[in-house]
């Protein structure tokens, strides 16, 4: 009886051991990723991972879609706090300082070998602005975008405008938008000239306006903001006036999430939106549309945006190695090109745009290259310490001004004072 049970146990252990062996040989990675625009992103990610795993049988990757950028950061930090296994993630590029302050990420300089240095240098410098601080590289650009102007060519034609000439300056944009506004019999607006979304990521759109007016909103160290500079206030006043005095945009806030639908339904002739929306707009539009760089006031300008790969400190040495291999593969030219074509996000390296696939795509569909061309005018996205809190101060100020609750100057002065209170601690 005793010997029998020992035999049984041994057999069971052997069986477990046999099955466990191949599993143990694989390094398992879990990553979180966000989605800020629609489209078949989860499917695409899964299929890219499947392809990666085919080439790297010793690595297994599980990708978890965790909501928008903020949700995903919250989830990743929460998972780390709770000790759940997560080794890497695609998170907001601007969460850089928060992730450093929370001491959860490792710089890539500590992860890569000397042979990988050229890889770190292969990304567009404009995209790396949100990846580097204190002389180290903490994030690898992946799901990156800039803001572009989408315009409805049919509406332009109908309004007697040149359908192939998007506005190049603020003045032109307002003039064109005025002509594009369409009113129904009772005098109600049935089509607006322009919509700039002011929920979801209002600070991001605002950065574009501020940049075009010649200003940046924060310093490189992420511990000082410039929300109350006169040119910044002017930019917010301009935004408010689009809905107010000019009447080319709805009053109040414009919803980020439903804006694409509004554009596709012809409720607005122009919209500012992320390039990440390019492919969904392309598949959904029943009319001819164009994509252009954002117009200039004193200069052209747009912030970059989107998500970077980060590797977490908690990952073991093998996991870190596997994570780097995975990230390298995901950002390699062929994958970056495929990602860009299927989503509309940018190809993150010059090499991606040199691949035959993306070259051909950009030739057929010139809009696909606009984001890249705009990169020369791009600035880093708003990234400071305690970013979520500072960002909310600015978001609230913008919405207060747009909804008429406060004058732009007062709203921004308040936001600046709030940001000062938080950031002064990080200047010592």
């Amino acid at each position: 009886m005793f010997s029998l049970s020992v035999r049984r146990i041994t057999a069971a252990l052997l069986a477990v051991g046999l099955f466990a062996l191949p599993a143990r040989a694989a390094t398992e990675l879990t990553m979180y990723y966000p989605i800020a625009v629609g489209g078949p992103i989860p499917k695409l990610i899964d299929s890219m991972i499947a392809e990666f795993e085919k080439g790297h049988p010793a690595i297994k990757v599980t990708a978890v879609y965790a909501g928008n950028y903020d949700d995903t950061r919250n989830k990743a930090l929460a998972a780390l706090k709770a000790g759940n296994p997560v080794q890497l993630s695609v998170l907001f590029s601007i969460d850089l300082f928060e992730l450093i302050d929370q001491d959860v990420i490792v710089p890539f300089d500590d992860l890569v070998t000397a042979a990988d240095k050229p890889w770190l240098e292969s990304f567009y410098p404009g995209l790396m602005e949100n990846s580097r601080t204190k002389g180290k590289t903490w994030g690898i650009p992946f799901q990156r975008s800039t803001i572009v102007l989408y315009w409805n060519k049919d509406a332009f034609k109908q309004a007697g405008l040149d359908p192939n000439k998007p506005p190049a300056t603020w003045g032109e944009m307002v003039e064109m938008a005025k002509r594009l506004v369409q009113k129904g019999a009772s005098g109600n607006v049935t089509r607006y000239g322009l919509m700039i979304p002011s929920t979801g990521y209002p600070y991001w759109m605002f950065q574009a306006l501020a940049r075009q007016n010649g200003e940046v909103l924060m310093n490189q160290d992420g511990n000082r903001t410039f929300f109350d500079k006169p040119a910044v206030v002017e930019a917010l006043a301009f935004w408010r006036d689009l809905g107010g005095t000019h009447g080319v945009m709805p009053k109040g806030t414009v919803e980020w999430g439903t804006l694409r639908e509004a554009f596709l339904q012809g409720k607005t002739a122009m919209m500012w939106h992320t390039t990440g929306n390019l492919t969904p707009v392309r598949t959904g539009a029943k009319f001819d549309f164009g994509v252009a760089m954002l117009p200039a006031s004193k200069m052209r300008g747009s912030p970059t945006g989107g998500g970077n790969f980060y590797v977490f400190k908690k990952a073991s040495p093998e996991e870190r190695k596997a994570a780097v291999a995975f990230i390298k593969w995901m950002t390699a030219p062929e994958q970056a090109a495929r990602w860009s074509i299927e989503t509309g996000y940018m190809g993150v390296t010059r090499a991606a745009y040199d691949t035959p696939a993306l070259k051909k795509y950009a030739a057929e569909f010139p809009a696909a290259a606009v984001a890249r061309d705009q990169l020369q005018h791009a600035v880093a996205e708003l990234a400071v310490h305690e970013n979520a809190r500072v960002k909310k101060l600015l978001d609230d100020a913008i919405q207060a001004a747009l909804t008429g609750g406060k004058e732009p100057k007062a709203a921004l002065a308040e936001a600046q004072a709030g940001a000062e209170r938080i950031l002064s601690r990080y200047r010592r």
């Binding site: 879990t30 979180y32 989605i35 800020a36 625009v37 629609g38 489209g39 078949p40 989860p42 499917k43 978890v64 879609y65 965790a66 909501g67 928008n68 949700d71 989830k75 929460a78 998972a79 706090k81 709770a82 000790g83 759940n84 929920t199 979801g200 919803e255 980020w256 999430g257 439903t258 694409r260 639908e261 339904q265 929306n277 969904p280 959904g284």
Partner: protein, 262 residues
Amino acid sequence: MENAAALLLAVLWILPLAYAVWAAFHPPEYATRFDLTAPLTLGNFQRAWAVAPFARYIVNTVLLVTMVLAAQFVLCTLAAYAFARFAFPGRDLAFALVLVQILIVPEVLLVENYTTLSRLDLVDTVPAIGLPYMASAFGIFLLRQTFKQVPRDLEEAAQVEGAGVLRVLLSVYVPLARPTYLAYGLVSVSYHWNNFLWPLVVTNSVETRPITVGLGIFAAPETGVSWAVISAGTLLSVAPLLVAFLLFQRQFVQSFMRAGIK
């Protein structure tokens, strides 16, 4: 007059759901256009099903609801029995402490409860979603009232036959409280099927997310998924409970009534 008002209100009340059904069963271009000749389609459901793992979410929810209900039945029965039939020092104080949970619902305490669960290494598990709700003050209260109405003679008869404490509970009290269990069960199931905030906080992955959290992530406006598909997803996630409600409407309503008046 009053009948007309009642009917009008009923129409208003069902309108949102009716609209969701309209949007879900027609091609996306009809989501905001009402044309009786619009073609019917199941395409939106296929797309919703393909975009998000609804099947998995529903499995998680069923698992959650079952687990919570089973635990609630056991824990609340034992506690209610204690309060109804045993005199022990500190009973009144203990009962008052139990009732605290009726006012201070677990949602309000999500920050500290999250910290506790992460210390226990239970974050992102299905039991974690249920744990704060398992000892339900409402359930204890309800069952205590029911047990108190059970005639003592029945209990004493069982004791004469040699039944112990648990045997008496199982053979006398529980069978007599069946309507209460049904009532409480339905209330609990619909509560946890629909619960969102706490599960959102405590789950991180597809393997644990209940349907509400899955739907919230799938349909958040920034994903820009088309309305038709969101409507389809919404209907998919409410379907199981809604169908159950339509089939057992009377029981549902009576259960809610019972749970309310006790």
